[in-house]
């Protein structure tokens, strides 16, 4: 039996599928508890339903992208393991990088089915698991203290400081997100301008162009939402903008 047949065997599917199922059940439990608690403290049920609809629609497109990651990795690691990794804990960009580096560490030149062995696979799987567990480890041991400290930090220092910090909290979160987006947009700009040598303007402009199309599409959604007072558009604006931008990449990609 070839290595890929072994890695795609029903037993490996069963091992990985069981873990995915356990995590899916955790999600259901967390969601039901949150919904019930929201109702119990008098939150608007419509808001919670809008959250569920918006999050579900938002998640569809990125999920298809993640599925492509499963397909990309399935050629060398079989289907069940990448399926598990990208359903639980993993991230598309991370898994590919670590799997490649792990393959080199075990002595095969990159991820390829022709060089994969059972020992190399189990070692790569372990390395992929350990490298990214820290968020969960910190959550396990410090999340309770950390979240309490965050609450206490905002509460300490009298009413004036409390209201100042509470007022700044939302601005800080928005700023953090602006920082996150700016890092990526900056990298696309930098990649285009200096990606092929300092200020040679010969790098790929495709990510930048796709981001611009995404921004333009979002602007249209926001305009339509305000112009027609269509609040329901909020649930689809991100996914819709992404879809338009991704579709544009197919055409722009031919020019790049």
């Amino acid at each position: 039996m070839g290595i890929l047949s072994q890695l795609n065997s029903p037993v490996i599917f069963l091992i990985c599928g069981s873990i995915v199922l356990v995590v899916a059940l955790m999600c259901v439990v967390f969601a039901v508890r949150a919904y019930r608690a929201g109702k119990a403290i008098g939150m608007d049920v419509t808001k919670m339903k809008r959250t569920i609809v918006a999050s579900a629609t938002f998640a569809v497109l990125p999920s298809v992208g993640i599925l492509l990651g499963v397909i990309a990795l399935s050629g060398s690691l079989g289907t069940p393991w990448p399926w598990l990794r990208l359903s639980v804990i993993g991230a598309l960009h991370y898994e590919t990088q670590v799997a490649e580096a792990a393959a080199e560490a075990v002595g095969i030149s990159g991820l390829s089915a022709s060089q994969m062995t059972a020992k190399a696979f189990s070692t790569i799987a372990l390395l992929m698991s350990v490298c990214i567990i820290w968020g969960m480890v910190f959550s396990l041991f410090t999340c309770k203290r950390y979240t309490k400290k965050l609450g206490a930090g905002a509460a300490s220092g009298g009413e004036k400081k409390k209201s100042a910090l509470a007022g700044f909290g939302d601005i800080a979160m928005t700023a953090m997100f602006i920082g996150l987006v700016s890092a990526y947009l900056g990298s696309y700009l930098g990649g285009f301008v200096s990606g092929e040598g300092l200020f040679r303007f010969a790098g790929s402009w495709l990510p930048l162009a796709v981001a611009l199309v995404g921004a333009g599409a979002m602007r249209l959604f926001l305009w339509a939402r305000e112009r027609f007072d269509a609040g329901w558009l909020d649930s689809f604006s991100i996914a819709g903008s992404m879809l338009i931008a991704m579709a544009s990449a197919i055409f722009l990609g031919r020019l790049a």
Binding site: C16, C27, F30, A31, R33, G42, I52, A54, S55, A56, F58, A59, V60, V64, I66, L68, V70, P80, L86, S87, V88, V98, A105, V106, T117, F121, T123, L127, S129, C131, I132, G135, M136, C143, Y146, T147, F168, G169, D170, A172, A175, F177, G179, L180, V181, S182, A183, L185, G190, G191, V210, A211, G214, M218, L222, S237, I238, A245, A247, A249
Partner: protein, 228 residues
């Protein structure tokens, strides 16, 4: 009276969330760390711990630092329930964080409130379930779907999921925050242009970028407060 009752219910919910979250993390850790050994036993080849150590020394530390930064940054955004689930289900940067922030904005929840805690948890649980469902269906249909999804014509679209996402998000967040966004974007663009090698470490550059944006936000906040 009603407010006091709600506060008690919420605190009870938070306590239980921490218990459930820690239990879920412990179970997931055990399952994920055990899986390579169980699969190794089935395949008749246990992991090579020497090669594992070598690999961990070369790339493990990098991801450790990244995980610490993500943990410190995202927990205040997501609250307790959202954080436990997000760190269990992964795909933070490309899905969970934008999804939770989007949901929070749609309903107008303020950070640090009970509403934000509930909305984040609902948002992350829902998006995780959708991903699990899409991947499960995709894996089931993998063989017939593979030629379509891997067709060269569609590859540019799927290679650009992240730029498409951040372009859309930029429009939303830059629009009313130009004085924070413009200098931060200029700073990051300049850094990436002057040191092109940084493009391989974009996720680490979120830290200085976020710090710069928060620093600017604080300066404007103080100035506006002084003028008011």
């Amino acid at each position: 009276m009603n407010e006091e009752k709600n506060r008690q219910i919420y605190e009870k919910y938070l306590e239980a969330t921490h218990r459930l979250g820690r239990l879920s993390c412990a179970v997931t850790l055990l399952l994920l760390l055990g899986a390579p050994f169980v699969m190794g036993a089935y395949l008749g080849a246990m992991p090579d711990l020497g090669a594992f150590g070598k690999g961990f020394a070369s790339i493990g530390l990098v991801y450790f630092v990244s995980c610490v930064a993500e943990y410190l940054i995202y927990v205040p955004m997501l609250g307790a329930g959202g954080s436990y689930l997000a760190f269990i289900t992964g795909n933070l940067i490309n899905m969970k964080i934008p999804c939770a922030v989007n949901a929070r904005d749609i309903v107008g929840a303020k950070s640090g409130t009970a509403e934000n805690e509930i909305i984040s948890t609902l948002s992350i649980a829902t998006s995780s379930l959708v991903t699990i469902l899409v991947l499960a269906l995709g894996v089931l249909l993998l063989i017939p779907l593979q030629p379509v999804l891997q067709s060269p014509a569609l590859q540019p679209a799927f290679d650009n999921v992240v730029p498409a996402l951040f372009g859309a998000m930029a429009c939303k967040y830059y629009r009313h925050n130009g004085r924070i966004a413009c200098p931060t974007l200029l700073l990051m663009a300049a850094l990436f242009m002057l040191v092109p090698a940084l493009t391989g470490s974009t996720s680490f550059m979120i830290i200085p970028s976020g710090a710069a944006a928060i620093g600017l936000a604080w300066l404007f906040y103080k100035r506006d407060a002084a003028r008011a």
